[in-house]
Amino acid sequence: MILRWTLRNVFAERGSLLAATGGIAVSLLLVLVLDGMFAGEAERIVAFLRDSGADVWVMQPGVANVHMASSLVRADLVADVSAVSGVAAVTPILYVSGFVSAGGREWFSYIVGRHADDELGAPRRMAVGAPSARPGEAIIPDVVAKESGIGVGDAVSFLGRDFRVAGISSGTYSMANSVTFASYEDLADLLSAPNGASYLLVKAANGVDAKTLAERIETAVSGVDALPAGELIDRDRRLALQMGVDVIRVMTWIGSLVAALVVAFTVYSAITTRTRELAVAKSLGAPARSLHGAVVLHAIVLLSLGYGAAGAMAIALREVVLRALPQIALRYTASTLSILALVATTLALVAAIVPARRVARVDPALVFRR
């Protein structure tokens, strides 16, 4: 009975409902976007490593990263690594950081040199054009192409040489770790490393564990280190996020604190406006349990509407950002959505219970004196 009455009252006061739901929604939206931006970049940062198809990365001893690292091994080690039991394929790549000049703008990028016909290390998705660069050609990320206003056939330059754009790849842009592809021959020439490779990308045979294979390669081939792709991705993500990107995480903490304050206040404020009604209900004989139930229901209704509105706005914002600011990736993870729901519910219930307890303690006769 009191629950139905609560629901009717909550929806009867549309202005209050809008104000409370709106406050909760924008606060949750803030947290969703902040976390989504960090999660999106954290994924993009390691997209090349993840999509390369390699199970094990072989590199110069002492090197344990791709981001920020410089590795050089003998290219003829490809044969030695290929001979290790459990290796299905080996692809050498050259890898160097530089600035790509495109359309009058400069973009920090890692430049990957690979043989056109090799199996591993190619861009996973192409927006347009060829997936492999021939000498004199380059494949650039779609975001760089869009923001620079260039397309296939246009010129870009890096490492002091001009290249023609042969393809535009998708999923290879990140704020800290974009990847531009060139031919192995061009990069070997530019780096004066005709017989070298930065990394050897290794694909494991079916049923062979990456960690085991990495250990086998280190044992069988001298002068190299080998890391399972998962471990390398984890190390690279941690390293790359430190280079400026984790400022977004700092902002997420701040935003979450403020959002918590707003959610708690909004629920508390909405419940206190009904204090007199609850006092009347108590004076008419409603037990404390019913009053608490009414308050909890009120809080849950507000939170559910706010959460739903925040989710809808977050999805809409992601579409807007995708079109207007393609360099930003928003990724809403199930874990964040769950944690946010849990924390917001806890906060809302705590904020609601405070006025409810006050009502439960109030003298029922008091209502008639007001």
């Binding site: 006061e13 202005g15 209050s16 104000a19 409370a20 709106g22 406050g23 924008v26 606060s27 939206l29 803030l30 976007v33 902040l34 931006m37 970049e41 002492g62 344990a64 990263n65 981001h67 920020m68 690292a69 410089s70 050089l72 950081s97 400069e106 973009w107 920090f108 002091g160 704020m175 800290a176 190390r235 390293l239 430190q242 280079m243 400026g244 990107v245 984790d246 400022v247 977004i248 700092v250 902002m251 903490w253 701040i254 935003g255 604190l257 403020v258 304050l261 707003v262 206040f265 909004t266 404020s269 909405a270 206190t272 406006t273 007199r276 950002v321 600011l325 360099q327 930003i328 007001r370």
Partner: protein, 417 residues
């Protein structure tokens, strides 16, 4: 005041019973004028009562609005702090000019390689008094499970650490000076031995003012690194970067622009910048990486803050509809109620702004404690002014919506309380 309300309510009941408009000729209007000066005085008298009587809720409103404003101040402060920190290190490089590889314009994360013969050629340019070589190399520093990107700056006659906050400067071979925040992150103290560049170094001291958002600085002596490289103890990429920058002192009275032009003409492998220009270039680089997300986050913070301020003030007025009905019942005009609502909004806003400044200081300290590599500087005068003006404007707009609700309040609502 409660007695006054009771009296007004009694008169109102009598008027309504007689079928007269509730406030058209409210007999209290004259009394109110006589007792309190004017209806505006009623408003002014009512406002503190309304706010103070519901102190807990008002305090929460103030806190909520303060939180929203502090959010904007802090987010803007993150960007301002990043810019200041990025700019400050290159700006304080000794020397009037800095020469670097042609096509390179930054210190931040840059890899500049100069030919060894660039040094004497630059030194021969008229107006150049002295040259100080620097080697710079971005590398990965790892200790245990911790990994961090760092920038090794190897110096010779100038360009070493400016501020030692723990320990001392480099005095012996195989010593380095590490940025203090990097050291804290890795649990390093002065005197510790660390593996770095595949070699063991003693941390002679920790330096301040050497943090940046991409890769904090680690100092070494140039001759020490070259000796180690020649002994085969250091990786090859160090040799490629053994001469990265030239810090240039000028003769007294020489024209920096003319000297710079002459260096670039006679040594085409180099570009020359002033330290201030390098600082600005580094800020542009940070904006290139982080400009779009920071702008989006700050824009969202402004939108969220605006909505939170507006909704909080609007909800506050809705909460007071009962009191506003009493005001109407005692004869207050719509303009009086509008003044009351706007007055409350501005009062809450101003109180909240003060609280927001305190909250912003707290959040800055929290970030400084948890992530000292990101200084938050939320107190730029322009930012403060913009936030204050915006907040008062939002308060006025929000109260305009609330006023629409308040002025149509039915005086009979008072009986529903």
């Amino acid at each position: 005041m409660l007695e006054l309300i009771k009296e007004v309510t009694g008169l109102l009941v009598r008027d309504l019973a007689n079928g007269r408009p509730p406030h058209a000729d409210c007999p209290l209007r004259g009394r109110a004028s006589k007792d309190l000066g004017s209806l505006w005085c009623v408003v002014l008298r009512f406002l503190p009562v309304l706010l103070i009587r519901d102190g807990g809720r008002t305090l929460l409103s103030v806190l909520c609005v303060a939180g929203a404003i502090a959010l904007v101040l802090t987010f803007e402060g993150v960007r301002a702090g990043l810019h200041r920190q990025t700019r400050s290190f290159p700006e304080q490089l000794p020397g009037a000019l800095v020469a670097m590889q042609s096509g390179v314009a930054n210190l931040l994360g840059a890899r500049s390689v100069l030919p060894q013969n660039a040094r004497p050629r630059v030194a021969r340019v008229p107006g150049v008094k002295a040259i100080h070589p620097l080697a710079g190399l971005p590398v990965v520093f790892s200790r245990g499970e911790q990994i961090s990107p760092v920038y090794v700056l190897a110096y010779d006659s100038a360009g070493g650490p400016r501020s030692i906050v723990e320990g001392r400067g480099i005095e012996n071979p195989d010593e380095i000076v590490v940025d203090v925040h990097l050291a804290h992150r890795h649990g390093i103290r002065s005197g510790d031995v660390v593996q770095f560049l595949d070699h063991s170094f003693v941390v002679a001291g920790l330096s301040g003012g050497t943090t940046n958002p991409f890769n904090p600085y680690v100092y070494a002596r140039l001759e020490n690194l070259i000796d180690l490289y020649l002994a085969g103890d250091l990786p090859e990429e160090l040799a490629q970067s053994a001469l990265s920058f030239l810090l240039i002192d000028l003769e007294d009275g020489s024209d920096p622009t003319a000297v710079r032009r002459e260096i670039e003409r006679s040594v085409p492998e180099v570009d020359v910048y002033t330290p201030a220009e390098i600082g600005e270039n580094d800020v542009r680089r940070v904006e290139g990486f982080l400009g779009a997300p920071l702008s989006l986050l700050i824009a969202i913070a402004w939108v969220v803050a605006t909505l939170v301020v507006a909704l909080t003030l609007y909800a506050s007025v809705l909460h007071r509809l009962g009191e506003l009905a009493v005001m109407r019942a005692i004869g207050a005009h719509r303009t009086d109620l509008a003044r009351l609502v706007v007055g409350e909004a501005i009062l809450v806003s101003l109180a909240a702004f003060g609280a927001a400044l305190v909250l912003a200081v707290g959040l800055s300290r929290l970030v400084d404690w948890a992530a000292p590599q990101y200084p938050v500087e939320p107190f730029g005068p322009l930012l403060i002014a913009r936030a204050l003006v915006s907040q008062v404007a939002v308060a006025c707009v929000a109260s305009a919506f609330a006023v629409r609700r308040a002025v149509v309040v039915d005086p009979a609502l008072v009986f529903a309380q």
